[in-house]
């Protein structure tokens, strides 16, 4: 099924933030906002919850740390113990560097991979961009149109009265 959207185009981040607040206050649901850079404060006005990616990073790091310690203790302590430089088989202080590195590695990669998955970012040739200017210099607010429910004129007025420099319609083929 095709989806129809109304796009309000803005060219200033402050106008955009006030517009989002007013439009949401007027009871209109905003589908998404596209911007060329991260606009500070947009999370609050759009009601985006804080990302839980740091939790993923923490557990990734915890896994990396445990794995590294287990690996070194098992390999040098149990699987094939050797005396190296007169040190004990399980010489924890000299295991710290590798443990630290693997903690960082697993933490970073688990978080980044999760980021790509949850943001549905993957290499693909077809990209659905509502308005190509949103990666250049415009802020694009997309509002989904429900046939027979949405009052197009009122929506147009609402967007324009809140500083949109353009209001366009866009149909997305599913």
């Amino acid at each position: 099924m095709n989806k129809k959207f109304v796009l309000g185009i803005y060219d200033d981040e402050d106008v955009l933030l006030t517009a989002i607040e007013n439009i949401r206050a007027a009871g209109t649901k905003i589908y998404d906002v596209f911007s060329p850079y991260p606009v500070h404060g947009i999370d609050d006005v759009l009601g985006i919850k804080r990302s839980r990616l740091p939790i993923v990073a923490f557990f990734g790091g915890l896994f990396g740390m445990s794995f590294a310690l287990w690996m070194q203790i098992w390999m040098l302590g149990f699987d094939w113990p050797m005396i190296i430089g007169g040190k004990p088989h399980i010489a924890i202080p000299s295991f710290i560097p590798v443990t630290f590195e693997l903690t960082v590695l697993c933490s970073a990669f688990s978080m980044v991979i999760t980021f790509f998955i949850v943001s549905r970012l993957k290499p693909s040739l077809k990209v659905n961009v509502f308005d190509k200017r949103s990666t250049d210099d415009k802020f694009v607010m997309a509002i989904e149109v429900k046939d027979g429910v949405t009052n197009m004129d009122a929506l147009n007025d609402l967007l324009r009265s809140n500083g949109a420099i353009e209001v366009n319609e866009k149909e997305v083929v599913k």
């Binding site: 060329p36 990616l53 040098l76 978080m111 943001s119 693909s124 659905n128 250049d136």
Partner: protein, 475 residues
């Protein structure tokens, strides 16, 4: 909306708009390569050819092609390794540590500096791998099962820590760099006209649309990656310094090494960033983004780290005397007045004296002076590693095994070759990737740019004069 004090100089000059930023940065990606770029690439490719030939000789005939001997078993290879890794550190410092410190001037240099990090680490990795003698067995440094043919790797060895540190550092830096590139690739994709460019950048941009939710996550990921990369970068050069510090060679066995190496790494890295950025801004007309303010900020980091390095040299000398260990004392006297005195004093001049010139504001803000001093620092830091490695090794406990080291043409070839490799990679990056992080520069544009005002726009020239001609005057 952050407030930036009006006495601070704007970070973007020339009254740029968001669209101007896109245009200015995408220009060299979209346009045909200019003659200066092509000429530079030709020179870099000559360097790369030298690299390939030297590596071929090293692999075919073995390490005997190098000037190493029984006494000096580590020389140019490890010197170059440490030098390149150190250079890489500035990129992470700029993108991660300055992000945590909320230093906004990082935004227009972080992309190129991170690229420099990645290419420098690639060059660095060549040396230990080639020094193995049989690089096709390089995977033996990984913890592989005993049944495979060797025992488990020795986790007590700093050389093995290096394997983990460098590969983690490379991977995390690459990911950090790529995450930052994704939105900019999307910008190029949406502007691309040719079918190949559109497809290539579509794949690279991972379908980025710039939705608010994605940006929110992007910022979280950047912040956490910065938080991870900061201790990581410190750990990498710490571990590199432990290659020396955990041994019993006089001149190496010192606890000062980790902080001293980290400071030196940042010092040399910033010098390399300056060398590259002064050229890049000129060749690609990015003077409005990489301004004198940026150059001055980097020069201030150079004074700080250069002074730390200077204090470290003095401390080492003092502690050698204070320790009362005659081998240690001799190692340092030999450094300064022995057969390699010229290397020691080149290091002292380039690293301790020249950067102190940056206390003078005029020199700090002069591009020519900065460029020359940055080259001096690059040379000085190479000599520092040479001094630490070769002068400590060539005369240790047993006078009967004392020897001198002199490089062969292949030694020089591998080193010069990695410079060629580095610049080949860097030039390709400049051509096909956006050299400035467009999204981040756009994000600071509103709070820190020169405002264009009805006809009498403040120009580059006006801002270079000083503080008073900036935005508060024009507003």
């Amino acid at each position: 909306m952050q407030h930036v004090s009006p006495i601070r100089e704007p970070l973007v000059t020339g009254g740029k708009t968001y669209h101007d930023i896109t245009e200015d940065v995408c220009r060299q990606v979209e346009a045909k390569p200019n003659a200066r770029w092509a000429a530079a690439l030709a020179v870099a490719l000559v360097g790369l050819a030298i690299f390939i030939y030297s590596v071929y000789r090293t692999l075919w005939f073995g390490i005997g092609e190098w000037g190493l001997n029984k006494t000096v078993g580590w020389a140019w290879d490890i010197t170059n390794f440490v030098w390149w890794v150190g250079i890489g550190h500035a990129g992470t410092l700029i993108s991660a540590i300055l992000l945590l410190f909320r230093q906004k001037w990082r935004t227009s240099i972080n992309r190129a500096a991170e690229a420099m990090t990645i290419f420098a680490v690639i060059c660095a990795a060549m040396f230990p791998v080639l020094h193995m003698g049989r690089p096709w067995l390089a995977y033996w440094v990984l913890p592989l099962p005993n049944t495979f043919g060797s025992l488990w790797v020795n986790f007590n060895s700093p050389l093995l820590w290096d394997v983990f540190a460098i590969s983690t550092y490379f991977s995390v830096s690459l990911v950090f760099w790529y995450i930052g590139l994704v939105p900019d690739f999307a910008t190029i994709r949406d502007r691309a006209t040719g079918p190949i460019a559109r497809r290539a950048y579509a794949v690279l941009s991972m379908g980025w649309t710039g939705s608010a939710k994605a940006w929110s996550r992007y910022e979280t990921v950047s912040l956490i990656l910065a938080g991870l990369a900061t201790p990581l970068v410190l750990s990498v050069h710490t571990i590199v310094s432990m290659d020396f510090a955990t041994s019993v060679i006089p001149g190496w066995h010192t606890t000062i090494f980790p902080p001293y190496f980290v400071a030196g790494a940042i010092f040399s890295g910033f010098a390399m960033v300056l060398t590259l950025m002064i050229i890049t801004r000129k060749v690609f007309f990015l003077e409005n983004y990489i301004t004198l303010e940026h150059v001055e900020s980097m020069n201030k980091v150079i004074i700080l780290t250069g002074s730390i390095v200077g204090i470290a040299y003095t401390t080492e000398f003092f502690i050698a005397w204070y320790s009362g260990v005659e081998y240690e004392q001799y190692a340092f006297i030999n450094r300064a007045f022995g057969p390699y005195w010229w290397a020691y004093w080149s290091m002292m001049t380039c690293n301790v004296i020249t950067p102190q010139l940056f206390w003078i504001r005029k020199i700090r803000r002069s591009l020519t002076a900065t460029f020359i001093i940055s080259i001096f620092v690059n040379i000085g830091m190479w000599f520092e590693r040479f001094v630490i490695i070769v002068t400590s090794l060539h005369r240790d406990y047993l006078p009967s095994s004392w020897a001198m080291f002199s490089p062969t043409i292949i030694d020089i070839g591998v080193y010069v070759g990695t410079i060629g490799l580095f610049f080949t990679l860097f030039l390709l990056f400049c051509k096909f990737f956006p050299v400035i992080n467009m999204a981040e520069v756009k994000a600071i544009l509103k709070s820190s740019s020169e405002v264009k005002h009805h006809g009498h726009a403040a120009t580059m020239h006006a801002t270079e004069k000083g503080l008073n001609t900036n935005r508060h005057h024009n507003e």
